[in-house]
């Protein structure tokens, strides 16, 4: 028998969901609002919420002080580059583990995931020294390599989960129908796995876009992505909240738009296999 939920209970749950949603969204909203305030209003106590003199001067000044476009290009290169390379490695890895598992497959998957539990700072020194010796500090290649390695376990896991849901019978049917490995992947597996691959790509792009630790430690000027651009506004000469907020808004805007339009795909990707 289906559970009946009373109207009051539904209303209470709805209100609670909205409150939690707004609480989570509030820092972003506050950042956006602060970006339109003067520096004085940004630190005013009590703070004004909506009734202040709206100004665009922070955005103008941020544009003048920094090369925003270059940071955007760097962020795009790092997030899309690492996703592409990650995909090239993760698809065959997940494929092999999903369709030709051995008794060690689960162990390998757990080991890969366990690397995510390692604090990044624990390997900062060796990675920094390796990249310094290779002359890769403050280069896009360095960040693309690091981002690929950092996010590879998640990519493999997500794709593995997706591929596991594809019945082996269908791939065997393709083999019986005369498909070689390439045709099996192109005509059968890829079209069936497109939603999974797309979700994996989206998540990886978002994770790489938002990553700050490695960006701050391995870049200085030429390869700095948007996360380093935000950090440059928390300068030694003092915090400029309004300009920092303007820089943050400009940095998060592209990924926020991407996330908004792809949220359905993302949720489906992240919950795939959990519910049928």
């Amino acid at each position: 028998m289906a559970r009946t939920v009373s109207t009051q209970r539904k209303a209470a749950v709805t209100v609670l969901a909205w409150v939690i949603g707004l609480l989570i969204f509030f820092p972003i909203l506050w950042t956006v609002l602060t970006s339109f305030k003067t520096e004085g209003e940004a630190i005013a106590n009590p703070p004004s919420f909506l009734f202040f003199d709206w100004t665009m001067e922070n955005y103008t000044e941020v544009q003048e002080r920094s090369n925003y476009l270059r940071h955007v290009v760097n962020s795009v290169a790092i997030s899309f580059g690492s996703t592409l390379i990650g995909l090239i490695i993760a698809v065959p890895a997940a494929w092999a583990m999903a369709f030709s598992p051995t008794k060690r497959t689960k162990g390998i998957l757990m080991w890969m995931l366990s690397t995510k539990m390692l604090p990044a700072v624990g390997v900062l020194m060796p990675i920094y020294l390796i990249f310094r010796d290779l002359g890769l500090l403050d280069t896009l290649i360095a960040l693309i390599i690091v981002m690929t390695m950092v996010n590879l376990p998640i990519m493999v896991w997500m794709l593995y989960t997706y591929f596991k849901e594809i019945p082996a019978d269908i791939l065997e049917a393709a083999r019986m129908d005369g498909a070689g490995l390439r045709q099996e992947i192109v005509y059968v597996l890829a079209p069936m796995a497109v939603p999974g691959i797309a979700s994996t790509c989206l998540l990886n792009i978002i994770l790489a876009w938002n990553e700050a630790f490695w960006s701050l430690n391995l870049t200085a000027a030429s390869a700095a992505p948007l996360t380093a651009f935000i950090a440059s506004y928390s300068s030694p000469e003092g915090l400029f909240w309004a300009k920092l907020s303007a820089a943050s808004t400009m940095a998060i805007a592209p990924i926020l738009v991407l996330g908004w339009f792809s949220q359905r795909q993302l949720v489906r990707g992240l919950t795939f296999g959990a519910v049928k």
């Binding site: 019945p167 019978d169 269908i170 065997e172 083999r175 019986m176 129908d177 498909a179 070689g180 005509y187």
Partner: protein, 339 residues
Amino acid sequence: MCHLRLSNVSKRFGTQEVIRDLDLSIEDGAFVVFVGPSGCGKSTLLRLIAGLEDASAGTIEIDDEDVTQLPPARRGLSMVFQSYALYPHMTVRANIAFPLRMAGLDKAAVDRKVTEAARVLNLTDYLSRKPRQLSGGQRQRVAIGRAIVREPKAFLFDEPLSNLDAALRVNMRLEISELHHQLGTTMIYVTHDQIEAMTMADTIVVLNKGVVEQVGSPMELYRRPANLFVAGFIGSPRMNFINGREAAKLGAEVIGVRPEHITLSPDGGTWRGEVGVAEHLGSDTFLHIKVDGVGQITARAPGEVDLRHGETISLTPEPGKMHLFGKTGEVIRTPEGVS
């Protein structure tokens, strides 16, 4: 033409031997059914023939060519899976056309063959639909259509009717048998359902624990089962087995008598027993009777018989229809003479 020969074929998964040293020959145009209980190795055997599993030992020959090491696509066989295994993102037309596209046929030839297969299988009105928009029976027909268009040397069916309801299963059974008559192509069919095996096969291969127990026509297996396993597996309801004193009287370890070979009478007879459950099927009634000193016996009676729970009745096994088995379960005498 397709003459298939398996010689000393074995298959091991780790330390477990699923198929043991198996020899089998299948003639061109035959409808062969592999039957046996779950885990007996029948699906594995089919997959070995298909090339979806590698044999651990032995050789598989198709038309005198050793195909043991050939990949599935190069064996010239088609397979229909239990789950249908249709490509969910393709239409019915694309599903049926897929093997032809893989074979590199031109568009006109593909269209002609798909249209013909759809006509034979009554799928013409569904060609533009996706598999999820079809019923179970239609999906199974699409899977068969995909197998037909390749014009294979032999068709392999892996429990293709298991996911269908009882009524549809009977229809599809007839359709597959009809298709075999139309095409005349060798068909190898795996099932655990002995009724499917009996009704469809020219030849039945009974498997048990990876070993062939007996090969023969349905009536051969019914009349002259080689051992206790085959005798118990073929026939529905299953054969009654009686051991102890009654068997010893006839110089056997076990006597086998089918429910349809027991005559019921109000008195007299060889044994007397008390009626338990009566299963009324309309045309027949199956009576489960408890016989002292013999055990539980199932007997077939006419459909209109009116015997109640607890009534006493006499049973007489037809003397010429008894199967006698020895100590190891091997038959020592069939109704038609000494084995």
